[in-house]
């Protein structure tokens, strides 16, 4: 079974994010970059499919040269090959442009299934999976927290309000992953895996290599017009003042009524 994983490199979730002076982009100078955690779940799911059915796992990513690091991390976890689409035309493009590039790379590989995170932890667009599925004309199973495949069909679980839904689809298909680190428990890149990762093939391609029209994929239809930080929260108030329990309760009620005006 051949699996393609769409992988995005995002800032480390621990990063301190600063908005650039243009008010609509982020300062990327000192950021630490990691594999988008939801895509890491997809890598783990792909490796489990490979362990069960054999075949290979290809990691496909869009972005500048620094993304190679994240692809190598997936290779160190056990993926077999990598493809990086590094084309200046994609700078300033939008989700659809990236999806066009990714879909073209998927077509070249012709996998049985495409896996990726349901969202990326940077801009939370949640568009890449569905758009790639649409461009390929393949079914899309969204936000999986578990996945099984017999090689002909793929089945996923997705939690819904008050229960779960089980979805099944024929292959080929696109599956996007939800859940959490605790649900997927993605494996560590083992040290032997790290030593082998550099010897695994990693192709760097331009849009033209994939037969994608740069002027089309590179044109943003959706643009980001502004970015804002959450409003800073005022410090909380601690009721103390040497009061007994009843006194504290009275003071709390007074504060909620007169200051917060919520009761």
């Amino acid at each position: 079974m051949n699996v393609a994983v769409l992988l995005k490199q995002t800032p480390d979730t621990e990063s301190v994010i600063r908005i650039a002076s243009d008010g609509k982009s982020v300062v990327t100078d000192d950021l630490k970059w990691v594999v988008n955690p939801y895509d890491e779940f997809a890598v783990e799911a792909a490796l489990r499919l490979k362990e069960k059915h054999g075949g290979s796992v290809t990691v496909i990513s869009c972005g500048p040269q620094r993304v190679v690091e994240s692809i190598r991390t997936a290779l160190a976890m056990g993926a077999d090959t990598g493809v990086l689409i590094d084309d200046p035309a994609l700078e300033g493009s939008d989700s659809l442009g990236v999806a066009m590039a990714l879909a073209a790379a998927v077509k070249e590989i012709n996998p049985d299934v495409v896996l990726c995170g349901s969202r990326a932890v940077d801009y939370d667009m949640a568009q890449r999976g569905p758009m790639v599925a649409e461009l390929l004309g393949w079914p899309h199973l969204a936000m999986a927290v578990s996945m099984e495949s017999d090689g002909k069909t793929v089945t996923i679980d997705r939690p819904i309000e008050g229960g779960k839904v089980v979805l099944e689809s024929s292959l080929p298909a696109v599956v996007t992953f939800g859940g959490s680190h605790a649900v997927w428990n993605p494996r560590y890149a083992s040290l032997p895996g790290i030593m082998k990762a550099k010897k695994k093939p990693l192709a760097v391609k331009k849009l033209a290599d994939l037969g994608v029209d740069g002027s089309q994929a590179g044109t943003a239809r959706v643009t980001m017009t502004s970015l804002e930080m959450p409003v800073a929260r005022a410090a909380g108030k601690v009721i103390d003042g040497g009061l007994d329990t009843a006194g504290k309760a009275t003071e709390l009620v007074r504060a909620l009524h007169e200051e917060a005006k919520v009761i």
Binding site: T73, A76, Y188, S190, L191, P192, I194
Partner: protein, 394 residues
């Protein structure tokens, strides 16, 4: 000069840190409070493949370099210095010395289970009356038919109480002094071997340290490592590497104590502002940073020299660099941890804050693997040797 880690080195560093945060941080308090060694530790180490970094692939190792192992110990020491030390004693002091010095048959027999985490390794050099003066060790090995019979006591042995495979130094020819020492591999089931006691330490708790007894212990002659009476070469060639990788532990602890101090001094407010705004705290933070970075560079430099050097020991650049690296890194770590406690004030002295643990843990590396005093003696001996030789030739 290239100060960049290779891709592999960087990924090893990141993986070991992530692994330590996920696997060791949640049990860290129990390890310290109860002096508890998690029984699945070495099996978990084997899962990510860190036990055989410097050893050959044919034994399950990685064929990696000394800096990779130094980075692994540094990152693990940020989270759990005690287990990082146990890891170092197992993977470097025991397994790597066997890898460097033993014949093929011994390597084939002992290395794969050590690297797979199925057996636990230790190294037995120090004795109750032979610490800094290691060459004065008294454990005897007498050849009797096809066996060596070992008699003596080993002290302060990291992993000793739980070790399956112990690399032991003993005198085969006491009259020859340092040139009468040999190295042996002892299994814990050999008749005459026993663990006298587990020692109760103020730091590095969770890493079992013990006293080992050899009472007419029968060791098959094929378990001799290297040549008879050549143990001192096994010892000194390994000591340089041991000092470098353990120095990584000191760098990791210093880094962590600095991180805690930065966070605390920005959060903590006194006299109406963050204490990090006060110049006396700023001076501490700046000096802690500068010394930690200097220690790291010296340790990495020594690790890089170890990759290139064909041998270490007396008269080599590697020996003086390794001694300088652990001398400076260990004293930096204790100094940085001491400053960190001062920045944390009363909280720093309380057991519920983690800085005091680093403070207790850090002290070990000024004592273990040669004291600071011995390291200074070595450095001074090495850097004056040439001038003395020239003087004597006049």
């Amino acid at each position: 000069m290239d100060f960049q880690l290779s891709d592999e080195q960087r990924m090893i560093k990141e993986t070991v840190y992530k692994w330590s945060v996920n696997e060791l941080a949640p049990i860290q308090e129990k390890i310290d409070a109860e002096d508890w060694f998690p029984p699945d530790f070495f099996r978990k180490c084997a899962e990510i493949g860190i036990l055989g970094i410097t050893m050959g692939e044919q034994y399950g190792g990685l064929d990696g370099d000394v800096l990779m192992q130094t980075l692994a110990i540094e990152e693990m020491s940020r989270i759990c210095p005690a287990l990082a030390m146990s890891y170092g004693a197992h993977s470097n002091l025991c397994a790597n010395n066997i890898h460097k010095n033993a014949n093929e048959a011994l390597k084939k027999k002992y290395l794969p289970p050590l690297i797979a985490g199925e057996k636990i390794g230790a190294l037995g050099l120090t004795e109750p009356n032979a610490g800094s003066d290691a060459m004065s060790l008294r454990t005897r090995a007498v050849k009797r038919k096809d066996k060596y019979i070992l008699t003596g006591t080993k002290m302060f042995i990291t992993n000793g109480p739980m070790a399956d495979t112990i690399l032991v130094y003993a005198k085969t020819a006491p009259e020859k002094g340092a040139k009468g020492i040999s190295a042996f591999i002892v299994e814990k089931d050999f008749p005459g071997y026993s663990v006298a006691r587990k020692l109760n330490k103020c730091g590095m708790r969770g890493s079992p340290t013990g006293e080992l007894i050899f009472e007419e212990c029968e060791v098959p002659q094929e378990n001799l490592v290297g040549e008879e009476n050549n143990g001192v070469n096994v010892m000194t060639s390994g000591l340089d590497i041991e000092r470098i990788v353990l120095a990584g532990g000191s760098v990791g602890m210093a880094r962590q104590a600095l991180d805690y101090s930065i966070r605390y001094s920005v959060e903590r407010e006194q006299f109406g502002q963050a204490i990090a705004k006060f110049e006396m705290i700023q001076q501490k933070l700046a000096d802690m940073f500068a010394r930690t970075e200097a220690a790291r560079l010296l340790v990495y430099r020594a690790a890089d020299a170890a990759r290139k050097a064909s041998r270490g020991g007396k008269g080599t650049e590697l020996t003086r660099l390794a001694a300088a690296a652990i001398l400076f890194a260990a004293e930096t770590a204790t100094w940085v941890c001491d400053q960190a406690i001062q920045i944390h004030g009363g909280y720093g002295y309380c057991l519920e804050f983690p800085v005091q643990k680093l403070w207790r843990d850090a002290k070990l590396y000024e004592i273990g693997a040669g004291t600071s005093e011995i390291r200074r003696m070595i450095i001074a001996r090495e850097i004056t040797a040439e001038a003395f030789a020239r003087k004597n030739a006049r």
